[in-house]
């Protein structure tokens, strides 16, 4: 096989038995754009992906998806955010060029002591974030790292890449216990070759219009080389989003037939989800109950890398939920809905009235309580005061302890707004007041007011059981505001 700009150097790392993964989580947004719908808008242009791609709604982005996936990984590992020392976020499509997304993810998770680190620049960054986390744990510098990959790469309207890039987040808890997967070795290939890129200040990804480059010059040869020195015959090879469609070619070129059979199928449903992809694909692959895996990472002119994990004997993979069944009933949308969800089609003025905070000291004072809702629990009467206060709203007690607000509650009342004064929410929206769990329920305290997720707006009733979900809340002064919405809990939906 010829290589236009193949890997020049291969670097290998190996770990003893001192680091691995103890939890995996993933999040795939519910909206789906089908290639068929896309072609109705752009007839005559061939598509570049599978059947559908997953599309984050207008109140979702890399940060909110990352929070959801991280919550899943923490639950899978059976730990809380307080058990995490560091949080790594890998993304090539975060909301900012200059402002940390990892810090916002940490805030949304309620982390108040973890170091947050942004990895980015390429779609292989998630592999490097995992490697760094495994190193940090293996060397005993930290006990536990939460590693998250989250992406939704922006494609130009009408570009066939719109049918290829999907949105998702994947997360892993890295620690020495390695209850799920034991890290063994890693390989890395340096290469500047890429088929798509985005310049500073550019809104959309650009690309070469030459599919041969992926097959012969970058994706396939780089991945194969990065894994060559670590692949064992029994390994299941898990592919990144860029490589999913080359499943058979990679099997052939690597001389390794056990390439995850779901790679192409998963990418065909959710698209190429950048830094999220390898972890979501790994979650899917684990449901095939392998004894060992090699997870590949690739993209964006950074070459490729691969990490080999073995499944500890004590790990029980038999009850793990597969990803595919859970993501195959997404909501199909038309192209106009897609453009609005992705912000490519927006009213000329979506700024709306500024909040009273407007980048003021008031915002800085309250932000912490808003991004990870904190309440003040009254020791005298058990009222959970939210927002936090100095004198209890129920008994006027002054002995209040700051606590993270429980994320679940019950709707006390709601109504449906047909006029929304602040963009970009589209009417109608259901606005709910819920009594949150964890405080007395017979007084003033313990309530949260929030919008219901759009898809659940028609199903909400007084008494519905809800949970708080981290979402975007528009843009002010060019800065993304984040807040919470309610989603129906499974038991009441």
């Amino acid at each position: 096989m010829s290589s236009v700009n193949g890997g020049r150097d291969t670097v290998s790392t190996s770990w003893g038995s001192s680091a691995g993964l103890s939890g995996l989580g993933w999040y795939v947004p519910r909206l789906r754009l089908a290639s068929k719908q896309w072609q109705k808008a752009w007839p005559g242009v061939s598509t570049d992906g599978g059947v559908t791609v997953a599309v984050p709604d207008s109140d979702e982005d890399v940060v909110t998806m990352a929070v959801e996936a991280a919550d899943g990984a923490l639950a899978d590992a059976g730990i809380s955010i307080d058990d995490v020392d560091e949080i790594y976020l890998a993304s090539a499509s975060g909301p900012y060029t200059t402002k940390s997304s990892a810090a916002m993810v940490g805030a949304g998770l309620g982390a108040d002591r973890a170091r947050t680190v942004d990895f980015g620049g390429s779609t292989r960054s998630i592999g490097d974030a995992l490697t760094a986390a495994l190193d940090a744990v293996a060397h005993g510098r930290v006990r536990r790292v939460l590693v998250i990959g989250s992406d939704f790469l922006p494609a130009t309207p009408g570009d066939t890449l719109e049918t290829r890039f999907g949105g998702a987040a994947g997360a892993a808890v890295v620690d020495a216990e390695a209850r799920l997967l034991q890290a063994r070795a890693a390989g890395s290939v340096l290469s500047t070759a890429t088929t798509h890129w985005r310049c500073s200040g550019a809104k959309f990804v650009q690309r070469y219009d030459d599919p041969r480059l992926e097959r012969e010059g970058s994706v396939v040869p780089n991945l194969v080389r990065s894994a060559a020195s670590i692949l064992e015959p029994e390994d299941l090879f898990v592919l990144p989003g860029t490589a999913a469609k080359f499943e058979r070619l990679i099997a052939k070129e690597s001389g390794h037939p056990r390439v995850s059979a779901q790679a192409r199928t998963l990418a065909g449903v959710i698209g190429d989800t950048g830094n999220a992809h390898s972890l979501v694909a790994l979650a899917e692959a684990l449901s095939e109950a392998p004894t060992s895996v090699v997870v590949g990472f690739e993209g964006s002119g950074a070459g490729a890398s691969a990490i080999r994990f073995t499944v500890p004997e004590a790990a029980d993979l038999s009850r793990r939920q597969a990803v595919l069944p859970a993501v195959s009933d997404g909501a199909l949308i038309d192209y106009v809905t897609f453009l609005k969800a992705t912000g490519k089609l927006a009213p000329s003025d979506t700024s709306g009235p500024a909040s009273p905070y407007s980048a003021s000291p008031g915002w800085m004072r309250d932000e912490r309580h808003l991004l990870a809702p904190t309440g003040a629990l009254c020791s005298a009467c058990g009222s959970l005061n939210y927002p936090p206060r100095s004198i209890c709203i129920d008994c006027r007690g002054s002995d209040l302890t700051e606590v993270l607000l429980p994320r679940t509650g019950t709707v006390l009342t709601y109504n449906v707004q047909h006029i929304v004064p602040i963009s970009p929410e589209e009417a109608p929206v259901a606005v709910c007041v819920a009594q949150m769990e964890g405080g007395r329920a017979d007084g003033y305290g313990g309530k949260v007011t929030a919008l219901m997720l759009r898809e659940a707006a028609e199903d909400v009733r007084i008494g519905s059981e809800v949970r708080l979900i981290f979402r975007r809340a528009g843009v002010e002064h060019g800065m993304v505001r984040y807040g919470y919405k309610f989603g129906l809990r499974e038991s009441s939906s």
Partner: protein
Amino acid sequence: MTGQGLPVAVVGAGMIDFGELFDVSYDEMVVGAYRRALSSVDKGIDDSQLEAAWLGTCFGEFIRRNVTTGALLADPLRFFPRPVTRVENACCTGSDAIRNAAFAIAAGIYDVVLVVGAEKMRDIPSRQSLVSQTATVFHEWSHPRGTTAPNRFGQFATAHMEKYGTRREDFAEIAVKNHANGKHNPHSHFKFDVSLEQVLNSAPISWPLTLLDACPTTDGAAAVILTHERIAASFTDRPIYLWGTGLATDPMFSGWKSSYTEFPATASAAQQAYSMAGIKPQDIDFAELHDCFTITELITYEDLGFCEKGKAGAWRASGGPYIGGQIACNTSGGLKAKGHPVGATGVAQVVEAWEQLRGEAGARQVENADIGLTHNLGGIGTIVSVNIYGREPRRQGRA
């Protein structure tokens, strides 16, 4: 002063016609209301007899003035150097200006004072008005993008329907009633009838509330002249008397409510006023209620004790709040038809009490009107004022 009332009389009351007054400035509205109040004094009054004034204006920023002070009344009236106090207390602004002016008289500081309520609300488009103001006040705490007044009152409607079986029609009919009353009021913003079908089928703004469940955004001003009761006779032989006043508070954040089916501050303010006046709710002949939304008036029937808790729908259906019913409510048309220029609203309610207690209300006159009540509810029941007026001085004994 339990049961003794206050030694305060109203000797003049007047208002300009409410509406969308593009061609009338704030200053001109203030002057208009002042002149009407002065000319309503039966035996005449000289401006120099006014010793002090209170100005109720809630949203100073709506009239492009950074600082709203008493100067906004002193300037256009050339009232110098007499004292003017500006009051801002949400929808209770006008009523609280009267309350504080009455206290100054009761304290023996002044004998004759002026109270003006004025609000210029239509100089800005509706998306910058109260609707979005309330959206931003608690913007961040109401995740993720704020709530609106229709939203918060709509949530009370939903909860009242759920808890008490209140029907959508029960509060829609209040719009029909208030329009029917308001068309007889020459000062009303809206002087037309609406049908139940029109209310139910008007544009949905905040389910279960529709456009016609909401009061309009209105420009307007009103003024009253208060005196110590001992000198009221030098201005008129038919003053009306302030029997009681109450003001109460409740949490301002809709996430801090103890219930979504009642406004506890209304019950508390009413209790203060009933106690001061020495009356029971059933003694009241007519009431001007804060019908910012129809559901607010419905719940207020219960909070004021006009009917049992949870029975407001049935009380309305039995004719209770209609002219000729048990307690005629919003004979002026209320906020719903007369309009709701926030600072002027509470003062304009006294203009209606003045006309009713003096038998001058024409087609909307309540027979044998002896005692009237005015009620304002600010925020989401955050601050509530209740004032009670009588045709005769309280201390000469009636009940």
